[in-house]
């Protein structure tokens, strides 16, 4: 368990550092300014991962991470204004770039399988992604309009 916690913390610290560099270059936020927010995000992630190991429920770790993060940032919860203010210095797109860089390196191993897929799989695969995304957006749009929200 302790080894796990050490591993998670170290990995997240490294990804956090890389994110801060991207956050600086791409979004002009000085690393010093974004450090408190990044430390918070790392702390929330590690806490969620620990809960996932300790609690017996069959719930994915990301649910615990989400619940902790949401609870800490709800208005009225002590300190929530700092949570929101600090983490807003860490841009979403600065986090997504390193994730997709790791993903790019990882997916190379699936390339041989990908190259074997026939053209029909490519057509159907594109339509599956398009259908899922567009279908959800259309339903959301209809309901938001019926409710008069947009």
């Amino acid at each position: 368990m302790l080894r796990n916690i050490q591993e998670w913390t170290m990995v997240l610290a490294i990804i956090g550092l890389i994110t801060l560099v991207g956050n600086w270059i791409g979004y002009d936020v000085m690393p010093l300014q974004a450090i408190p927010g990044m430390l918070l995000l790392i702390g929330i992630s590690v806490a969620g991962l620990i809960l996932d190991k300790l609690l017996p429920f069959n719930i994915p770790a990301i649910a615990y991470i989400s619940l902790i993060a949401i609870t800490l940032s709800i208005p009225g919860v002590p300190g929530s204004e700092y949570v929101v203010k600090w983490t807003s210095e860490v841009n979403l797109l600065a986090i997504t770039t390193p994730i997709l860089a790791y993903a790019g390196i990882a997916i190379g191993r699936s390339w041989a399988d990908f190259a074997k897929l026939g053209w029909r799989s490519l057509v159907v695969g594109s339509l599956v992604l398009l259908g899922t995304y567009l279908g959800s957006a259309v339903i959301a749009e209809i309901i938001l309009r019926v409710q008069g929200i947009i």
């Binding site: 709800i74 993903a103 279908g135 957006a137 959301a140």
Partner: protein, 263 residues
């Protein structure tokens, strides 16, 4: 274990981040829409390209795969702290957030008939019943077995999504949201498709296209992803898969009739 000690991997990623963030975001207008070229999309392409050079060894690629789960948890935390302050908005749009999950069934309306008319048989059930990520692969394997046509079908979509999913959704979400008369917030709710990297790419493009809506987009995308994670598998088991079977039988009948007339 000891993923953090793979300095070679982290140095490569740091290099990719520095290069791609310096290149920055570029836009290409096509018709009524805008294609957004974002650093994260170059990052996935450069990462994949480097896999085929001596820079990345098998070990780095394996470690990267295990590590993505941890990297995504940072993203989930960022989504979470954006949901908190918007909690009243989230509750207000709750019905749309929950019902858009059923929009995933649209893949049956669009992809299944095409699959059947391209000549695919039982494979098409595995291919089109869902977006084909890990829980869906597990479901199909459990029900039909690894070497069944359905199993081969879901694996082909899994592989397609792994390689192409994030780039595909990143590109089309920018184009669709700028070209179609559908509100960016509706697309934000659609971004939680049940895959971390696809959600990152889809919502990232939206934020980049509509910076003034950034907080709402992140909060709604995060909330929809949470709902997808909690309910997605059950929607697949109880609604999507039975419906796929029914529609498959229907489309196969039409195809056979058509073949008879022609033959």
């Amino acid at each position: 274990m000891n993923l953090w000690k793979d300095w070679r991997l982290h140095a490569i990623v740091l290099g990719i981040v520095i290069v791609t963030e310096f290149i920055g975001t570029h836009q290409i207008s096509i018709g009524g829409g805008v294609v957004l070229l974002l650093p994260m999309l170059y990052a996935i392409a450069i990462g994949l390209g480097l896999y085929f050079t001596p820079v990345v060894k098998e070990k780095q690629s394996k470690n990267a795969e295990t590590l993505i789960f941890l990297a995504v948890s940072l993203l989930i935390a960022k989504f979470g702290v954006t949901i908190g302050p918007s909690i009243s908005t989230i509750l207000e749009v709750g019905p749309a957030l929950i019902l858009q999950e059923l929009g995933h069934l649209a893949t049956l309306l669009i992809a299944l008939p095409v699959a059947v008319f391209l000549g695919l048989k039982r494979e098409s059930v595995g291919m089109t019943h869902s977006i084909g990520r890990e829980p869906n692969v597990a479901l199909i394997m459990d029900k039909f077995g690894l070497n069944s046509p359905e199993g081969r079908g879901v694996m082909s979509i899994y592989i397609f999504g792994t390689i192409f999913g994030a780039v595909f959704l990143g590109l089309i979400s920018g184009i669709l949201a700028t070209a179609l008369p559908i509100h960016p917030l509706s697309f934000a709710m659609a971004s939680g498709v049940g895959s971390g990297s696809m959600m990152a790419a889809a919502s990232g493009s939206l934020v980049s296209a509509f910076p003034h809506l950034e907080t709402d987009i992140i909060a709604l995308a995060g909330a929809s992803n949470l709902i997808s994670a909690a309910t997605g598998l059950y929607v697949s088991i109880f609604i999507a898969l039975p419906l796929t079977e029914k529609m498959y039988a229907f489309f196969i009948k039409i195809r056979e009739k058509k073949n008879k007339v022609e033959g």
